[in-house]
């Protein structure tokens, strides 16, 4: 099996190529339109009548299918009683549930943090040449064509009378009116027939006239596309590239700019914090200005990133950026969105001394343990620290003494780090690396624990302040963050040469992969607290996140294992022959290679997790899906209106998942995986 894998993926080529800039390769030359259509739609050019008949038949069948489906979708989206107001009015609910208006700045700060990080990362990544003008023109043609086609296909709008009521007609098109009992009758008061009544619609010409705006957009896109196509000529449109990121930024900018002139929302927020549904308004200023600021942040950060990428010390900056991405979820969630009320007395009396103790003494211990020529004493000391950690947990179980959970965990982490120390024995710089790493880790760990344990200042109607899309995103992020190390550990254990580790990892992975996620979610939401000591209790969010982490780790482990199988045995042998320890071999040789090959499946796993968060709706979390399925349809104005909301969240999920899968495909191409 491993032979099969390694023959498909030429790892050495992959890894050598991954760090080079993508070469600029001109696009394929295009066929003349008629020849293209003949070849791709009507099967000509193969020299057989059968091929032409088959090709034409397929084209007609599938074009018919596509047109029918497109028309049905358009008719629903633009139908007068689709109920899109239920989405428009409830955008805030869908995305952040009942997060208080007066604290909304926090949400925008969070989005701003993400925008800055994204901008910096975009600025610092090496990307390919971008998109050729040929591709851009093709997009413009496609979208323009789709819009024009849609304008033609959509059924004419329903006519309404002066009261805004829909007008009806019988099957022959004779209009019906409402009598005093509000039932439909003919003009001469004859009762209307029981079947064949439909809404009265305007005629085709008038409908086309009403859709002038759409006509203009569609034709404009077609015209721009044609201009690019014909002005540049075949060779230049294939070899001229527009960089991808500036193009994307321009697109986002265009989208943001529409908030200044198009009536997206028709609603605005009042002084009291509620919102009004005002027809004359543009999109609410509370939305328009923040979005513009976000865009500016993104662009500025992107330009900054470009500058930093050219700096000589870009290596540490990159590491810092990665660390910022890792910390951002915690920071935004616990420090910004919750608005913790710090108990400064407690901080000064307990938290700070503890931090000084662990950072200082722990650092000193590690410094000692990495002294050259220490021999086995280092390992023995580490085991002693681990034993002490174990003792604190046993003590907690039997209730011998009380101790902060934070201290127990810190001692445990110190023991584990001490166990790694022999790998860092050497010159002062080497030793300093471990000590600095430890101090940084313990600082962040203590900070986070303090933040998590501090009460929130945000008052919300429900226990958990997060909801809607916000909860979806955070559960997905925390899941990926925590399941990654766990999954890697499981993969290492499963590929280990030690049978007990292998058996334990296999049992875990197969058990979690064998049962449906929803049962795990029930398990963790319904009775996780049964298994915990009386004093401990998990909040709903923590419980579901743990369920997701444990579940996702099992799948992730299998992906990483696949990557490990692509590593040839010689790599292990060479590391052993050089005398690297198992930890060094794993950290320097095995994991870096395995993870690079596993990137595409890992992105796939991220997409899966993102989609799977929708299961939260079943176990009582107010997530994105729950908002659209239960909360919005429960409002008196929109009683039972589900379809628009569901379609809207479908679109949001689609954009997220599709973007990630396209990214993964690009990576796959870049890594040469799956190419022949």
């Amino acid at each position: 099996m491993s032979d099969l894998l390694s023959s498909e993926i030429d790892l050495e080529k992959v890894l050598a190529g991954a760090d080079e800039e993508l070469a600029v390769r001109p696009d394929e030359p295009s066929l003349p339109p008629l020849e293209w259509a003949g070849k791709n739609l009507f099967g000509t050019g193969q020299g057989s009548i059968g091929a032409i008949v088959r090709g034409t038949f397929l084209t007609v069948i599938f074009a018919g299918l596509a047109l029918l489906a497109y028309r049905a979708v358009l008719n629903f989206i633009f139908s007068e009683n689709a109920g899109w107001d239920s989405v428009r009015i409830n955008l805030r609910l869908l995305f952040t549930q009942a997060y208080p208006d007066e604290n909304y700045t926090r949400v925008w700060v969070t989005v701003g943090v993400v925008a800055v990080l994204a901008g910096l990362s975009l600025g610092m990544t090496k990307v390919g040449p971008g998109f050729s003008f040929k591709r851009i023109a093709t997009w413009l043609f496609s979208w323009g064509g789709l819009i024009v086609l849609g304008v033609l296909l959509r059924e004419p709008s329903v006519l309404t009378d002066s009261n805004g009521e829909t007008r009806f007609a019988d099957s022959r098109g004779v209009e019906l009116v409402r009598d005093t009992n509000n039932s439909l009758v003919y003009q001469n008061n004859d009762p209307a027939p029981s079947t064949g009544i439909s809404a009265l619609r305007e005629n085709f010409g008038a409908a086309m006239g009403d859709r002038l705006g759409w006509w203009i957009i569609g034709l404009a896109l077609l015209a721009i596309g044609a201009a690019i196509w014909f002005v540049l000529g075949d060779l230049r449109r294939r070899t001229t590239f527009v960089p991808a990121i500036p193009l994307a930024l321009a697109g986002i900018g265009l989208l943001v700019s529409t908030t200044w002139w198009y009536r997206w929302g028709h609603y605005t927020f009042t002084e009291e914090g509620g919102f009004e549904y005002g027809p004359g308004e543009l999109v609410a200023t509370s939305t328009r200005i923040p979005w513009t600021i976000m865009f500016v942040l993104l662009v500025v950060a992107y330009l900054g990133g470009r500058l930093l990428a050219r700096a000589t010390a870009s290596g540490p900056i990159r590491i810092g950026l990665s660390a910022a991405w890792l910390l951002a979820p915690f920071f935004t969630y616990y420090a910004i969105l919750r608005g913790p009320i710090m108990d400064w007395a407690h901080v000064v009396s307990t938290d700070l001394p503890l931090w000084v103790l662990f950072a200082g003494l722990g650092g000193a211990l590690l410094w000692l343990l990495t002294r050259p020529g220490l021999g086995e004493i280092g390992r023995i000391l580490a085991v002693v620290v681990l034993a002490a950690a174990a003792f604190t947990w046993v003590g907690a179980f039997f209730g011998w003494f009380s101790m902060l959970q934070k201290v127990r965990l810190s001692v445990l982490f110190l023991g584990l780090t001490a166990l790694l120390a022999p790998n860092f024995i050497g010159e002062a710089r080497q030793r300093m690396k471990l000590v600095v790493g430890w101090v940084g880790f313990i600082t962040i760990f203590h900070l986070l624990v303090t933040l998590i344990n501090t009460a929130s200042s945000i008052e919300t109607p429900s226990e958990d302040f997060a909801g809607g899309f916000m909860v979806t995103i955070y559960v997905a992020l925390f899941t990926m963050l925590f399941s990654f190390p766990l999954g890697v550990l499981l993969a290492l254990a499963r590929t280990s040469r030690m049978p007990l580790f292998r058996v334990m990892a296999t049992v875990y992975i197969e058990a979690f992969r064998g049962v449906p996620l929803i049962t795990m979610l029930f398990f963790f939401t319904v009775f996780v607290n049964i298994f915990l000591p009386g004093s401990m209790e998990l909040s709903l969010m923590a419980a579901v996140t743990i369920a997701f982490v444990l579940f996702s780790a099992a799948y992730l482990a299998e992906n990483v294992r696949g990557g490990m199988q692509a590593i040839r045995r010689g790599q292990y042998e060479a590391s052993d022959a050089l005398g690297l320890t198992t930890v060094q071999r794993t950290g320097f040789i095995v994991l870096p290679q395995a993870l690079r090959v596993s990137i595409p499946p890992l992105v796939g796993q991220t997409i899966a997790t993102f989609k799977e968060t929708s299961l939260l709706a079943i176990v009582g979390v107010f997530d994105f899906l729950r908002m659209a399925r239960d909360v919005v349809p429960a409002q008196t104005e929109f009683l039972g209106t589900r379809k628009p909301g569901l379609l809207f969240i479908s679109a949001v999920y689609f954009i997220g998942a599709y973007a990630m899968s396209k990214y993964s495909q690009r990576l796959e191409k870049k890594l040469g995986v799956g190419e022949r």
Binding site: L58, T519, I530, T613
Partner: protein, 514 residues
């Protein structure tokens, strides 16, 4: 080489290093320590759970399986079950129905879409890829709930709701289609088919041999199908011939019932010991050389000790931890045979009227509200939403797997096949598809597993299947933990079955490589 020199050297025995430096010992200490920590944590949690449960006054146990759960199900074999066990069974049957039907439908649709996606025709390929991207990038649960919402706003049920009146009805009550059902005598007929398959296989082998020896075209596969068909036709009329199996099964059931619990416990213990001993023997054999037993390393000793410990743990479970397990095994086996006896008992004497299969078109039940009648096959709105959801969703993934499989066959294979003059059809059948199938099979098995697990999403639209039924019973009786155990066992059994089937084909198809 002089023998004397060697002897003198061997006698100076190697010194053992202290244990903390012995690579093997350190390795095993680390493993055992981790195992102990994990077990300790699990025991801790279990003890805690025991304390908490008894503190709340909840009684644990599986007695709810024999008590009337007081719940109603929909769209199952028994909508008003009289025991908890029966309710869960009805749920399992629905899960299996959804899974098996879903797997068949999703495979067919997936292959169709996958091949369309590969088509040279731009239109066909684009339509297929839009379908795939739409299904794949939106959560399955959202699909299901959207389908459910669409179903609920469909026109209300009547006998002319269409789209094909009298045959297919699509309404807010769900989907009604004609139904094929098992009648009395079905299992006797199935026995005929089984015998037909065995006989047909013999015929097929013979035909194959003749073809191999003489080169004559003997249609081995065709004759297999023909033999089965002949047996099917004969069995259609003569099925009561196998009615006597009823008595055989009931006799076996009685015999099983007479096995004492202790005998079962002894048998199971013997089985565990035999397995362990067998493993150790095989292990030793693999270390045996023509020159005698090879020197066993410390690692080998540890492995054998753990095999023994495993057997001891199994024995402890059988005798001390869960002695009831053995009688449960006896009872289940007895019940299984009794059910088989019932199935064969039905319709054993009716020569004239009963045919093993029946079919009926949907009908219209009179009442205050229009409802589909019981004759046709009715998917309730929820059930239909789940079924279409999982089928379309999985089909999109299967389509990608099929496409990937076909693309994974190197171009050189096509060229080589053309070079030796194979016709297009032969090339596809004998060269391309077998290789594509080999690549696609493992991910296909994964998708089948996912589909089976995804049936559990039916709970979101209230369609009855194992998880929905279990959740309802759990809420009614507070026996959530027990229900969870049943879920685990059932889904693990399903996963195992699918893995075994996929692995069977995988091994058969594997290309032998050095």
């Amino acid at each position: 080489m002089s023998d004397t020199a060697q002897e003198t050297l061997v006698t100076t025995a190697s010194q053992r290093p202290p244990f903390y430096r012995d690579a093997t010992v350190v390795k095993w200490i680390a493993q055992v320590a981790t195992l102990v920590v994990v077990l300790f944590a699990l025991i801790f949690l279990a003890l805690q759970a025991g304390d908490n449960v008894s503190a709340k006054g909840i009684k644990t146990g599986f007695d709810f399986l024999d008590v009337d759960p007081g719940i109603n199900l929909n769209g199952t074999i028994d909508n008003d079950p009289d025991t908890g066990g029966r309710a869960l069974w009805a749920g399992m049957v629905n899960t299996l129905r959804l899974s098996i039907g879903g797997i068949v439908a999703a495979t067919l649709l997936g292959i169709l879409v996958g091949v369309t996606r590969l088509s040279k025709n731009w239109m066909a390929s684009k339509v297929a890829s839009v379908f795939i991207e739409y299904m794949r990038n939106i959560p399955l649960l959202v699909h299901i709930i959207l389908f459910f919402a669409i179903m609920q706003t469909a026109p209300s049920f009547s006998d002319d709701v269409g789209p094909l009146n009298g045959w297919v009805h699509f309404s807010n009550k769900g989907v009604s289609v004609p139904r094929v059902f098992q009648a009395d005598g079905f299992y006797q007929w199935l026995t005929f088919l089984l015998i037909g398959a065995v006989v047909g296989n013999l015929v097929r082998r013979r035909q194959q041999r003749v073809q191999d020896e003489t080169g004559a075209t003997t249609y081995p596969l065709g004759s297999l199908v023909a033999v089965i068909a002949v047996f099917g036709v004969i069995g259609w009329f003569l099925h009561p011939l196998f009615g006597w199996l009823d008595g055989v099964f009931s006799t076996i059931a009685e015999a099983v019932d007479k096995i004492p619990q202790a005998a079962m416990q002894i048998a199971l213990t013997v089985l565990a010991v035999v397995l362990a001993v067998n493993w150790i023997r095989r292990f030793l054999n693999s270390r045996r050389t023509p020159a005698g037993l090879a020197k066993l390393t410390d690692d080998d000793w540890f492995r054998m000790i753990f095999a023994g410990v495993g057997a001891a743990i199994a024995a402890a479970v059988i005798w001390v931890v869960w002695p009831g397990g053995s009688s449960w095994l006896i009872n289940s086996t007895r019940d299984l045979f009794e059910v088989a006896s019932d199935k064969f008992g039905a319709g054993r004497d009716s020569w004239q009227n009963d045919r093993p299969l029946g079919a009926a078109r949907p009908d219209f039940a009179e009442g205050r509200f229009a409802n589909p009648g019981s004759a046709g096959l009715n998917f309730s709105a929820g059930f239909a939403a789940v079924f279409f959801g999982i089928v379309l969703y999985t089909a999109a993934f299967i389509a990608e797997i099929v496409r990937g499989g076909i693309l994974a066959v190197p171009k050189g294979q096509t060229e080589a096949a053309q070079a030796i003059g194979l016709r297009r059809a032969t090339m596809l059948r004998r060269v391309i598809l077998p290789q594509a199938f080999r690549v696609s099979l493992p991910p296909l098995g994964n998708q089948y597993l996912n589909l089976t697990k995804n049936t559990s999403l039916a709970i979101a639209v209230g369609a009855s299947e194992l998880v929905q039924v279990g959740q309802t019973i759990g809420n009614q009786t507070g026996k959530n933990l027990e229900v969870f155990a049943i879920w685990m066992l059932f889904y693990l059994a399903c996963s195992l079955t699918i893995s075994v089937v996929v692995n069977f084909f995988n091994v058969r198809l594997a290309i032998v490589e050095r």
